[in-house]
């Protein structure tokens, strides 16, 4: 494994018979992922996209040795679905579901952590390692195997930037979309060490947003523990304080979590910060070239 997923990753899709579950099972398989099982209570015994469906994650794991889960079940049932995966021994769960109450997510996060399961998300595009595996919903078309790592709090903006990297003729090692909710299972600080240790990543792209202090905390980690070049972009420079910009994470309150503080922290940590998404690929190419020259 390089960063969390690889050829050994065996995915169970929770909520596979829903529209999203089915669509993205197809996409994950097209990506080359081993999607070994689906779960929808009451639909055990059927098949979706050639994948056997089980009534419970426990059954799915017992029969298919699934070791990663991709959760699409509706928000009111997401907490139980996550606990089910954890109890079945699944140690990596991508939660795509949006609108999960943060009170539920608090339980999910601390329960999973206690049992040794990593959550990516919720309300996130998931994780993908081109040429290896994808657990989530990032469009396949933006990827191309390469040596640029990407960690992002955004969804479609991640696609935009990852696609930009591809169109620039570069490729990605692993890309993680953390999700933009107030409480996420994996934050920048949690994800950065994985890329620092990953021999397949030469450079890291961090895509942040206003709201919270995850980028500042990430910058602190960069400063003290990260040796690879970093290109960053922070969305929302022009967003007014106090307004929720789309999802609950992206809000500036009490003067904390502004684009300015994030950009300043990242620059102080040695990252090159793009002012616009379309500047990212150029900066990446430039830093890789500089690195190559050394």
């Amino acid at each position: 494994m390089t960063v969390l997923v690889d050829h050994e990753t065996r995915v169970v899709v929770q909520g596979i018979t829903g529209h999203q579950g089915t669509t993205h099972t197809r996409q994950m398989k097209a990506f080359g992922t081993q999607v070994v099982a689906g779960v929808t209570p009451g639909k055990g015994g059927s098949e979706v996209e050639g994948v056997p469906v089980f009534d419970s994650v426990r059954d799915a794991v017992a029969r298919t040795r699934a070791n990663a889960s991709c959760i699409f079940v509706p928000a009111p049932y997401a907490k139980d679905a996550l606990v089910e995966a954890v109890d079945a021994g699944v140690r990596l769960c991508t939660v795509v579901t949006e609108h999960i109450p943060f009170h539920d997510m608090l339980v999910m996060y601390h329960y999973a952590k206690a049992q040794g399961t990593r959550i990516i998300g919720p309300n996130c595009p998931g994780i993908a390692a081109p040429g290896k595996a994808k657990v989530g919903i990032i469009p396949n078309l933006v990827f191309r195997p390469g040596r640029v790592g990407v960690i992002s709090r955004s969804g479609t903006l991640t696609y935009e930037i990852v696609n930009g990297i591809k169109e620039h003729g570069l490729g990605q090692s692993t890309c993680i979309g953390l999700g933009g909710d107030p409480v996420v299972g994996t934050s920048f600080v949690d994800a950065l060490p994985l890329f620092e240790q990953d021999p397949e990543t030469d450079l890291l792209v961090m895509v942040g947003e206003i709201g919270g202090t995850a980028e500042e905390d990430g910058a602190d980690y960069l400063k003290h523990h990260f040796s690879k070049p970093v290109v960053a972009y922070i969305a929302g420079r022009s967003a007014p304080p106090g307004k929720r910009m789309g999802h609950a994470g992206a809000i500036i309150t009490r003067g904390r979590g502004t684009a300015e503080t994030k950009v300043a922290a990242l620059e102080a940590a040695g990252a090159r910060v793009a002012r616009f998404p379309y500047e990212v690929p150029d900066l990446v190419a430039q830093l890789l070239a500089e690195r190559g020259r050394r």
Binding site: T23, H24, P76, E98, H99, I100, P101, F102, H103, D104, L106, V107, Y109, H110, N123, P125, I137, I138, P139, L141, S152, S154, G155, T156, L157, T158, Y159, E160, N163, G180, P182, V183, V207, E209, I210, G212, T213, A214, D217, Y233, A235, G236, R237, S238, A239, P240, K243, R244, M245, G246, H247, A248, G249, A250, R254, G255, R275, F276, P277, Y278
Partner: protein, 377 residues
């Protein structure tokens, strides 16, 4: 998020046993006077505008009354005020208590810790933002063991309470914690929390309920104090709606992409107005709905920026062209559309054929949108 008006917040507090001044809600000067005459609100009393903004005291939205007539006069003066953009339609009348010290307590979420935090300060009665950080005690509370005695003791220490008021705090914090959890609150705040004799009384109530937990709380479904009709439609369609000051309508999918679009528009001198975020989806139906909704907002120009992941761009483009026909000619606006992803070339061509400015580059399309809003194509 649902911000509850003070009196609704106090209804929640009452349910959990948090001590409150005696009081009642009035929606007219007559009603205010009657509440006092009937004894439901004891004299002297305070008459408070039920608006969501802070700073009511200084803003003339809080008055005192010692007689029923004064209550009527105060009510009449406050009702109909426009306070920080809100029309005052409701008043809360409450007994005026002989107050001791005024404190601050709240429970909210600490995102970085991924834990609720209990916040306590001996400096209540002012905006907590204005209180020195060293004077604010913050304690994470883990939801598994729940709020514990030692946390409550530390809060009592931070508030400088002992004896009767400390005992009252013990019960009050349990109630506040219960309300935070059971009501799925983002914030439960008492400011000021007044020491009254041997006890404590919540003089104000700020309760914010999380939208995402609405499925557990049908009781809050009707309380959406600050929504315009367009916002209401957007909510029903599950489209995030944000109203800014400018004149360029923005439709995008995903919060990050929406904000990035904003940043680029501003860079080129554009002023974004209403913007609609479809969330992470590229569902053509939702694109169409957003487009029709945007038409009702009457923007000067619209910039549509969709990154297509699952759906093919040509499908989205066809849907968009079809939607354009549905907008009455009087409501039409210049449209700049950028649709990226699967089959983007085909999609862009469909749009161009329909007379839409369609540029794949974010930079160029933003420039085009700004120009369109200025009427300089």
């Amino acid at each position: 998020m649902v911000k509850l008006a003070e009196w609704r917040g106090k209804d929640v507090f009452r349910k959990y046993g948090i001590p409150l001044p005696r009081g009642a809600v009035a929606r007219s000067a007559d009603e205010a006077e009657n509440l006092v005459r009937s004894g439901r609100v004891p004299l002297p009393c305070v008459v408070k505008a039920q608006v969501l903004a802070g700073g009511r005291g200084k803003g003339g939205a809080v008055k005192f009354a010692s007689t029923p007539e004064e209550a009527r006069t105060a009510a009449a003066a406050i009702l109909g005020l426009e306070f920080k953009g809100e029309n005052v339609k409701e008043l809360l009348l409450e007994e005026k208590l002989a107050l001791g010290r005024e404190l601050y307590v709240a429970v909210t979420l600490d995102r970085a810790l991924r834990l609720p935090i209990l916040i306590a300060s001996a400096h209540g009665g002012v905006e907590i933002e204005s209180v020195d950080d060293a004077e604010i005690d913050r304690q994470p509370v883990h939801p598994f063991p729940g709020l514990t005695n030692f946390e409550k003791r530390r809060a009592a220490r931070a508030l400088g309470l002992s004896g009767g008021p400390a005992k009252a705090l013990d019960r009050l914090l349990d109630a506040l914690w219960g309300a935070f959890q059971v009501e799925d609150a983002e914030l439960v705040e008492i400011n000021p929390l007044a020491v009254v004799g041997d006890g404590l009384v919540a003089l104000d109530a700020k309760v914010i309920i999380e939208d995402d937990a609405a499925f557990r709380h049908p009781e809050y479904a009707e309380i959406r104090d600050d929504r315009t009709p367009l916002e209401e439609i957007a909510r029903e369609k599950e489209i995030a709606f944000v109203q800014l000051d400018g004149n360029i309508g923005v439709i995008a999918n995903g919060a990050g992409l929406t904000m990035a679009t904003l940043d680029v528009l501003k860079e080129f001198g554009g002023a974004p107005g209403v913007f609609l975020d479809l969330g992470g989806t590229d569902d053509p139906k939702k694109v169409t709905e957003a487009f029709l909704l945007m038409a009702q907002a009457k923007p000067k120009a619209v910039f549509l920026n969709i990154f297509g992941g699952v759906t093919r761009c040509d499908t989205v483009a066809n849907g968009l062209v079809a939607a354009m026909q549905q907008v009455p000619p009087s409501d039409r606006f210049p449209l700049v559309a950028r649709i990226r992803g699967n089959n983007e070339k085909e999609g862009t061509e469909i749009l161009r054929a329909a007379g839409v400015v369609a540029v794949p580059s974010l930079k160029e399309s933003a420039q085009a949108a700004v120009a369109a809003a200025r009427g300089t194509p």
